[in-house]
């Protein structure tokens, strides 16, 4: 069930916590231990705002095991406003309404469950930005 593994990743999964290089300011999601820009190992936690635009997307109908119950689902790459790309599911939208370049925002959803008696893994997905104010 990978209990410790998913527990370990919750800051990233729930709140898009990545890292920022204390030396050169480069921002990373997922977090890195070594800066790709200046090789510094002095990186600090950095929470991303969770908004960006869709870089690419596709639909999965032949799923890897553990994801069967969700098909068909949309997966995508999101270019966060702070720079990094992140891969995640795109939710709350019909495939026909998804477009490259679309503005999206992070939501927290169920990523998968380990059967009916196992742990439920929650984490980030993205959806077209809601403007319901």
């Amino acid at each position: 069930m990978d209990l410790a593994r998913h527990w370990r990743l919750k800051d990233q999964r729930y709140r898009l916590e990545g890292t920022v290089c204390a030396e050169c300011g480069a921002k990373f999601f997922p977090p890195r231990q070594v800066c790709t820009e200046c090789k510094s190992t002095n990186l600090k936690p950095h929470e991303f705002a969770g908004r960006g635009e869709l870089y690419s997307f596709t639909t999965v109908s032949a799923p890897p095991s553990g994801h069967e119950e969700f098909v068909p689902y949309i997966v995508g790459m999101v270019k966060l406003d702070e720079g990094p790309l992140v891969e995640a599911q795109i939710t709350d939208v019909n495939p026909a309404d998804v477009k490259i370049g679309q503005r999206v925002e992070m939501v927290t959803r169920k990523l998968r469950a380990y059967g009916d008696d196992g742990v439920i893994v929650y984490g980030y997905k993205f959806r077209p930005i809601v403007n319901g104010s």
């Binding site: 999965v60 095991s65 790459m77 790309l85 891969e87």
Partner: protein, 383 residues
């Protein structure tokens, strides 16, 4: 470093081998290669394989297969670099000879993908990507390539039909390869009608999963003796890596590892990309062919798909690729594929490729990719 040559090749047909185990397939290919090389011993065996543990509950393939093939006692181990495992095993075998450590080395690639359910195999193949940041999101290996293809089409204003010629070429070539999984030509209409897997990728853009094994016997070029006639020299062997996850790459539409390993290989062999007579490209998906051709310097950036459309990739073309069917139509037993590619280049350079023979083939390149080109293993062969 001493020069290394391939002196023997062997392969099984790629298909769903319900009746044969991983070890039986490996033994068949290795015995074929040893017979072809006319050797009855070897100093070491390197087995390229990705998923034996996950799909057949069997690791430690080195000892298992060395013993099964009658070579109990020799150095033997498994080499894993996802779908590039076969190429990586060849790299290991190459180094073992080039370093002067051994005189006869066997390189095998073996994979059995059809032992488990499809969803399970799909999940296993996704292990080639980043488990914590790609696979957990249900992003299958096909989906990763679909993400690239969609963006590529967006950037360069292409439609799926622009990729059709890769599949058509692969199937046309496979028709004359008795070892191919799908030895039948396809038409553009069949391509257009194909069932989508992860849009824009359809089944006709995807290499089929299959079981199979291939093998090579390597020796120092200086000690070929009676094998000299049919020997093919390995003029370059180079490996490079990129970020494993697509999101971590500076430019997801550029195969950095392909460029690095190809450049190293060209330098080692002292050739230019234009001098390559044939290229066994890692065409697991059409988009991989396109991006590999560009990064390897065989097409300009954004023009990889045009190469196929203009007929340059056929047997008689300027850059023949997938000459025995490629991953697309010969089949893709993932960890074995890199060795199949090497076997096919040797067939071409020996002049034994039959109806698929590339005329005046002297320099052939094989490139085995692990993950979505996170790992690129390039070998250049000359006769």
């Amino acid at each position: 470093m001493q020069s290394v040559s391939v002196v023997g090749i062997g392969q099984t047909k790629v298909k769903e081998h319900w009746d044969r185990s991983l070890r039986e397939l490996a033994v068949q290919a290795i015995l074929g290669a040893m017979q072809d090389a006319r050797v009855d011993h070897a100093d070491a065996l390197y087995v390229g394989n990705m998923l034996s543990g996950e799909l057949t509950a069997q690791e430690n393939l080195g000892a298992l297969i060395a013993d099964a093939v009658g070579l109990r006692g020799i150095e033997a181990l498994k080499v894993e670099a996802a779908c590039g495992s076969g190429g990586a095993a060849l790299r290991a075998g190459y180094l073992a000879i080039a370093s002067g450590e051994y005189d006869v080395v066997i390189v095998a690639g073996a994979e059995k993908l059809t032992e488990s359910s499809n969803c399970y195999a799909t999940a296993s193949l996704a292990m080639a990507a980043d488990a914590d940041y790609e696979a957990i999101h249900g992003i299958s290996f096909v989906a990763l390539n679909a993400l690239l293809m969609r963006r590529y089409m967006h950037e360069y204003d292409l439609v799926p039909e622009d990729f059709a010629a890769f599949s058509i070429n692969a199937h046309a070539n496979a028709a004359h390869n008795p070892y191919a999984m799908f030895p039948a030509p396809i038409t553009l209409a069949q391509y257009q009608r194909a069932r989508p897997v992860s849009e824009p990728i359809s089944v006709m853009d995807s290499a089929p999963m299959g079981d199979g094994a291939a093998a090579l016997v390597l020796m120092p070029t200086e000690r070929l003796n009676g094998n000299r006639n049919r020997a093919v020299k390995i003029a370059a062997s180079a490996v490079a890596t990129d970020a494993l996850a697509l999101h971590a790459r500076r430019d997801p539409l550029w195969f950095g590892a392909v460029e690095l390993s190809a450049k190293k290989a060209y330098a080692q062999a002292g050739v230019t990309p234009q001098e390559i007579d044939l290229f066994e490209v890692h065409d697991a998906f059409s988009i991989m062919s396109v991006m590999s051709l560009e990064a390897a310097g065989l097409a300009e950036r954004g023009r990889g798909a045009y190469l196929a459309r203009e007929g340059e990739i056929g047997i008689q073309g300027r850059v023949p690729i997938s000459t025995m069917g490629g991953l697309k139509a010969r089949g893709h037993p993932v960890g074995a594929t890199g060795v199949y590619q090497a076997v096919e280049v040797v067939q071409q350079l020996r002049g034994e490729a039959g109806k698929n023979q590339v005329p005046n083939a002297h320099i052939g390149m094989a490139q085995s990719l692990g993950g979505v080109a996170a790992n690129a293993v390039t070998h250049i062969f000359v006769n």
